[in-house]
């Protein structure tokens, strides 16, 4: 082994590079940067795959500001506001993080601790918001019908999307109920039966002449989804296979199945990064409070964790653009 390396590195300091500082950066900082580069490539892979799929279905992809329209505690249609808030929170927690690093350079222990604490709070608010966003996305807000050829039909009134509960009346007409332990001699688990049946929806559609059907296909000149005439809509509805409410990995009310899959995968992977960032921040926070870095003589560990935290913010900037804006 010794013959193959120019400078022997064994000894106590091997883990930290033994004081060797290529490019004037410490071993730890350099490795954090190289980790970030490789992680950035992973995220680019996801976003590029998203781009490929979106280009593949360019004329039928769900329109983001028709999907993400909710703000907690407020009713109504507010596209984008909540994600904008999340972006803002993450940028702000990046600021408090960089303030912690700055205070670290000046060896101000309590300031570092307080800024780390603020960063952790920011991260928690972000993850909480994302959980809420997932919950809204999974539960859905309008509901739709999936046809035998895999297309999703949505319902509109005066050009605005309406929920199934806004126009469907009457009874299910097919007596189906969700299997649960209390009904049936032998409990067989099964799919949850949606609130309305297909026959019931079709009957209500026929009964209410103001309801129209919107298909996934986009009018590329207006960048809006096509709305069918009443007769055409009824013909499409005749191909209906199942009622979809909300989203899961096999169907969603927003349109293409793979749209929801990418949503879960990309924001989930990012959310997991935020989560691990919070865990790292908490560990470092306690080290700061216990005076570990004060004894060590420098706060470089705060800087290294900070790099990771900023990277998470950086990724979100791109996810925000390509998922919600473009």
């Amino acid at each position: 082994m010794e013959a193959n390396i120019a400078i022997p590195t064994d000894g106590k300091n091997t883990w930290s590079g033994g004081g060797v500082r290529p490019f004037g950066a410490s071993y730890g900082k350099m490795m954090m940067w190289f980790f970030i580069v490789s992680d950035a490539l992973t995220f680019s892979g996801f976003l590029a795959a998203y781009g490929l799929t979106r280009f593949k279905f360019i004329d039928s992809w769900p329109i983001a500001d028709e999907v993400f329209t909710h703000v907690p505690f407020i009713h109504g249609n507010y596209p984008m506001y909540y994600v904008a808030f999340m972006t803002f929170i993450l940028i702000f927690s990046s600021v408090t993080m960089v303030m912690a690093v700055d205070a670290g350079h000046k060896m101000q222990k309590s300031k570092v601790a307080w800024y780390m604490f603020a960063t952790i709070i920011g991260g928690l608010i972000f993850v909480g918001s994302q959980a809420w966003e997932w919950n809204t996305f999974i539960n859905g807000s309008y509901g739709g019908v999936k046809t035998t050829n895999g297309k999703v039909l949505q319902f509109v009134k005066d050009g605005k999307q309406i929920a199934l509960s806004d126009f469907v009346v009457g009874t299910r007409m097919d007596e189906r109920v969700t299997h649960s332990k209390k009904n049936g001699l032998w409990f067989v688990s099964g799919e949850e039966v949606p609130k309305y049946s297909l026959a019931q929806i079709t009957a209500s559609y026929k009964a209410d002449p103001s309801v129209q059907i919107r298909i996934e296909k986009i009018d590329m000149d207006k960048k809006k989804k096509y709305i069918l005439s009443r007769e055409k809509g009824l013909a499409e509805l005749a191909n209906g296979q199942r009622v979809v409410e909300g989203a899961n990995l096999s169907a969603n009310e927003y349109g293409n199945t793979i749209f929801a899959n990418f949503f879960f995968f990309i924001t989930g992977f990012h959310g997991f990064h935020v989560f691990s960032g919070i865990v790292l921040n908490i560990i470092i926070f306690f080290n700061v409070v216990l005076g570990t870095y004060e004894k060590k003589g420098h706060y470089e560990m705060v800087e290294k964790v900070g790099l990771y935290w900023h990277f998470v913010d950086l990724v979100w900037v791109f996810v925000f653009t390509f998922f919600y804006l473009v």
């Binding site: 490019f23 590029a48 913010d313």
Partner: protein
């Protein structure tokens, strides 16, 4: 640490203001979607999308250069990370998007609406 130990507090707040303003502009454009930017096409996509992409890269630059302190690192350390990532990302994205366009041109005519 290779960089100066002077305080950057003022600059950090300035960058924060800049990033916030850019985000607000993005969200504003995303909600309003001015027709002249949204419904026209320029170099393969709408000018609005180009604005979003440019503003995103602008934000990414500021996050990397000030928050992640790349401006204070040695030139070749910076290049080792940034050039590698930028080159590979451009390569990947170009190929994937071309393939996506090809898939659309081949498969879309087969879809019956």
């Amino acid at each position: 640490m290779a960089h100066a130990h002077g305080s950057n507090v003022k600059r950090i707040w300035m960058v924060f203001g800049l990033l916030s303003v850019v985000t607000i502009i993005e969200v504003y454009l995303g909600i309003v979607k001015p027709e002249i930017l949204h419904l026209t096409s320029f170099l393969g996509t709408s000018p609005l999308n180009w604005i979003f992409i440019i503003l995103t890269l602008f934000k990414a630059y500021y996050i990397t250069w000030t928050f992640m302190h790349m401006e204070g690192e040695k030139k070749w350390f910076r290049r080792a990370a940034i050039w590698t990532a930028v080159f590979l990302v451009c390569y990947l994205v170009t190929l994937f998007l071309i393939e996506g366009g090809y898939l659309h041109s081949t498969l879309a005519p087969l879809v019956k609406w």
